[in-house]
Each structure stands twice: as C-alpha cells, then as structure tokens.
Symmetry: C2
Subunit: 349 residues, 2 copies
C-alpha cells in the first residue's frame, strides 16, 4: 500500500506499435469466435458466419485535438469518422458505435451537445447507430472514446497481411492535405497568441482545413470496389501517413515494396501550402497522416478494373522482402521508407 512504484522503461522508448506488441504478444485466444485479434485495423469476431469487425479509438485533448481551433461539432464528427474508416479499411459495413466522453466541469451541456451533434451527423450520413456509451467527469480536459462495429459476410473482409509479390499498391483520393491543414491551424494559432487582435488568415484554404477537421471515411470506395468486383489482397487506412501504413502492409505480408514519388496523389492546394511552408510535398504526403484515405493492394489481373476508377491511383507494387520498402524519387533514386507518422508515444522534437 502507498508504495512508490519502481520506474524503469520510458514509454517513448517503445512507441505505440512497439508497446502494443510488447503488451499483447503473450495473449492466447480462447474463444473460437475471436477470429482476428490485436494487429489489424479491426478485430474480427465470427458470429454464425457473419463477421463482426470491432475497432476502438481514444482521442485526448491536446494530444489528438486542440480546442482552440477545433469546433466541437467537427470533433464529434471526426471521432466517429476515424472509427468508420477503420471498418472501411477491412472492407466492412459499419453499423453501430458506442461513445464514451469524459469532460471536466468547464464544459457545459451545450458543449457536449455540439460534440453529439457532430457524432450524430456522421452516423446519419453513413447509416450507423449510436447504441451505447458512457459519460463521466474528468479532472482536466476532454476525452472521447469510440468503439465501432461493422460487418462483413463470410470471408469478405480484408487484412493488412494478404498482399502478394507483384501486387499493385493503390491509394484513394490524395494525401498530405490534412497535415497541411493542421500546420496552417497551428501557425495561425501561434500568430493569434502573439497578437490576439489579429484575424487568423485562413481564407481560401477551406479544402485543407476541412480535410483536417472533418475527414470522411472512404466507405464510398468500399462500395465502389465491390460493385466493380475488386477484392483487395490487403488494405489499411491512412491515419499515420502513407509511409507508416505501407510499412504495416509490407511487414504483415512479409514483402517489400516500391512506391513511385510521381504517382503519389497530392492536391494542388496541399502543394501550394507546402510551398508556403518551404516543405517538399512528398514529405506531407508520406508522413503527414490523418488523411483517412485507403491504401490497398490488388492482383495485377485487376489492373484494368482499377484503371477505370478515377478515385484510385496505382502508386507502386509489392516486391520481395529483401528489396525493402522504398520510394523511387522523380530523379529515379530509391530511398528507404521510414515511418515518421503520428506515433503519439514517441517524443517529437
């Protein structure tokens, strides 16, 4: 009782993925219904052939969001959207969420209503039911925990681990926009803190701001792929950046990968803001994160079907493991891909 705990290993030494591996590598699954456990975007639970996909995310004030520039309604929307994105990345159909909110006494009922409004808006848009949750006080700040449940029939779901050698790597939409939106918000906040009479200069940047503040899960792509008879061999959503995600797919599938810088889709608005910040757009695209686009692999024979879809770009192909995961630059130089994404447990400088 009342003892001092011996402190040894700092959390930042392992990072989020290292820590999860460390904590869960000795877990033995005992229930037949637990088909896929820790290690993918969702867990998969078998219920009489219907596969229940379960995913959960915890959002913490001043770690994952900053209320000085995040409208509460957008925050609620995003809290749901990022969980639905995890279901989308398994090719599932989300149907239920549970929602837990902890908030300090500085928050009013009206503030929580705003969060719920955003949550309901996102749920309505994607046909998802809020079926439960928990509300409680916190000693400081706001925390939101959402668990989403989605469904797939039989073996229609897609894991990170199924990519084959020679498979084509595909990416939806464009990447890097969310990160540039975040950088812009952070810059204007700093300027505003220095001079509170100044008006934030956000004009004309709606696209990148919306990509950051109100991302959409790409459930339209899930439907589109199904309509076109394309079953990806592996899939993940871009929450931590393309670099981090392609490493997950490559590692889980036991392969290497070659991506082509020129093929990575970047929106002009993102490129302009990169220019503004003196940043190479490929950095935002590869390491920015929070785009919630889908990164997936398909068999080469599906290329004609994919080529017809304007929402999807083919950005590379899977190689043998020994070649590593590389990005081929505009001037044809091969650079190893390293994860520098949103690993909240690793210290940033």
């Amino acid at each position: 009782m009342f003892e001092k705990r011996v402190t040894k290993t700092n959390l930042s030494e392992l990072g989020e993925f290292g820590l999860i591996d460390h904590l869960t590598n000795d877990i033995k699954i005992v229930n037949e219904s637990s088909e896929i456990a820790v290690g993918d975007d969702c867990a998969v639970i078998d219920s009489k052939g219907r596969k229940v996909l379960v995913t959960t995310d915890l959002l913490i004030e001043n770690v994952h969001f900053d209320l000085s520039y995040t409208p509460l309604k957008h925050l609620g929307y995003k809290a749901i959207a990022i969980n639905l994105s995890d279901v989308a990345s398994m090719m599932g159909k989300p149907e239920q969420v549970t929602v837990s909110i902890a908030m300090s006494s500085k928050f009013t009922v009206e503030a929580i209503e705003e969060i719920y409004k955003g949550m309901k808006l996102c749920c309505n848009r994607y046909g998802v039911d809020i079926v439960g949750g928990d509300t409680t006080t916190s000693t400081s700040g706001l925390m939101i925990s959402v668990t989403a449940m989605g469904y797939a029939e039989n073996n229609d779901y897609v894991l990170r681990s199924g990519a084959g050698r020679g498979d084509l790597v595909c990416l939806t939409g464009n990447v890097g926009a969310s990160y540039m939106g975040l950088l812009l918000l952070q810059r204007e906040k700093e300027a505003w803190k220095a001079n509170p009479n100044m008006q934030p200069d956000l004009e004309g940047n709606d696209y990148i701001l919306e990509r950051h503040l109100k991302p959409e899960p790409r459930l339209d792509i899930v439907a589109l792929l199904k309509e076109n008879g394309i079953k990806p061999t592996s899939m993940i959503d871009v929450s931590d950046g393309v670099a981090s995600e392609i490493l997950h797919i490559a590692t889980r599938s036991g392969l290497g990968c070659a991506l082509y810088e020129e093929k990575i889709p970047v929106d002009p608005a993102t490129a302009i803001m990169c220019e503004n910040f003196g940043m190479n757009p490929i950095t935002a695209a590869m390491n920015g994160g929070e785009d919630y686009e889908l990164l997936f692999t398909i068999k080469q024979e599906d290329y004609p079907k994919i080529e017809a879809l304007k929402q999807v770009a083919v950005i590379g192909h899977m190689t043998e493991k020994e070649a590593g995961v590389n990005i081929i630059s505009h001037d044809n130089i091969s650079v190893p891909v390293e994860a520098q994404g949103w690993d909240h447990l690793k210290k940033k400088d």
Copy 2:
C-alpha cells in the same frame, strides 16, 4: 475560429443519467441489427439470431480510482471485471474485450505492464479474449476505456424493463462492502498524508478492501440461474448502489417496488466498519455502489428454485407503479428510495 464558447448549462445540473437521456433521446435506429440501443447495461446487436451484447466503460484517474492506494494490477483487473459484470447483468457470456489506455509520460512501460497483467488475469479467469485496443499519451493522468462483447442465444438475454407486478426482487452476495473498503482506504490515505511515517491501518480488513479493489463479475450466478432453469424477468448489476439500480428496474418496467431492510444482505465485516464510521449499514448497502452484485426479478412461481440457492437473497417484490419505490425498515416504516449513488456528474458535498 478561436471563438469563446457560450456557456449555459452546468453539467452537474443534469447528472449522468439525465445527460445521457438528453443527448440520446432523439436518436433513431436505422440498422435492423441494432436490437437494443442506449438505456440498458449493454446494447444488443442481432447477428443471425446470435445476440451480441456490447458495453463500454471509461475509468478516469482521480474520478474513478486513486493511484495512491490502488495497485495497478488490481486496477487492470477491475477495469475488465466491471465490463464483464455488465454482460453478466444481461445473462450473457462475455467473450471479447477491447482495451484503450491513455497515460501521461510519468508512467513507465512496467506500470502499463502491471495494468495489462491485471487485465489478462481477469480475462483468463473468465475465458475472455483481448482482441484490440489503443494506447496513447495523455497530458495528465491515466484513463482506461474498455469495451466488452458478450453473447446470448436468441432471446435469452434479460433487460432492465421486464419486471412484472408481484415479481420477487433478488440480490446476490452482499452489498455495501466495496463502499466501506473505499471509505477505509480514503481515511488511511488522509491519515498517511497528515503523517507519512504512520503505517496505514488496514489489517484484518482484507474482505472489504478486496471487494473494492478487485470486484468479481457474477458470471457464476448467470451459470447457476441457467442450470436451475430460472430466467429473471429483469436484471441489472449493482454499480451505483442498490437504491439507484432498483429505481432503474422500477422505472424501466413501469412499476413500484417494496424492499425489506432486514432482507438486504450485509457482510459482518461491512457492518463492523459501518459501526467504526458511525454509519447505518443500510446506507452503505443501499447507496454505496461498486458491489457488482446482480439485482434481478423473478416470477413468484420460481421462488422454490431461488430459495434453494444460498448465493441469492429475496429482498422484496414489485408493486404497482403508484405505490412508488420504498424500503420497509426494521420498525416497519416505509421510506421512499432515492438514488444517491455514484453519479459522477453530480457534485458531491
């Protein structure tokens, strides 16, 4: 942007149950699979006739637990146990949990390992798989969010709303012990703060301390009731105190209730600690909370079957709504039952 939010209604005015009602009363369910949504211990999702029971709980440092007297392993155990208790209170079999932890940089890997050890211990004991989760940093303190999934065949699950007039009210084990354990821990903490050289006086109080620090979900009772062919008409677990829980059952079932003070089971160790604190044991029993016993109703015809079970006490019966919810004291005075449980959103004095 950067605007000040208009503050109006203080959270404490509504309380947790009021707030949840307020936020969720306009939710319309769109998926056929969402069988029961907000308002019971678990949501119920239909998956080809198999009912998926989903429940979630958020535990916040210094709101739900105090690390100065809560061993981390016990905390992990309890975080799982209280969710399994929600599944038990629907007569379900828990099979999966997802686990999210946010912690500040003061926590080490070894500290998180201790929490996980406790979680795994509870999961192993009850045959439950950890299938997913999330770990992240927090700006201050420790937060744990657990979502549990359980199962029931067809309509074998039990809601709060099914009690009938004349049904017998049953309670497992005994109540009030957890609360007295908490009061003892708080008292010794205060004494220790006043004089850090003092040894905490916890000797001989193992039972009430364990009831508070390491509660068990009554999955044994679920099995026992099934073995004996007893299907409760309504059920809830005692997390906020018997008073709060019986009010939930009565309200949801549209009935009143008469409980008998002399029938409420209190352990001698609890009674002694009440004496020590100059408190009436019935107060701890009715309003203490965190006992995680099961409170349920059965049809009168099942009385002979229940009478044979030493783990269960019959403590009252359901009446017409107009009679209200009352407790009949030792000296035969009827007192209205009021919820004074663990409503974390209402200010305590």
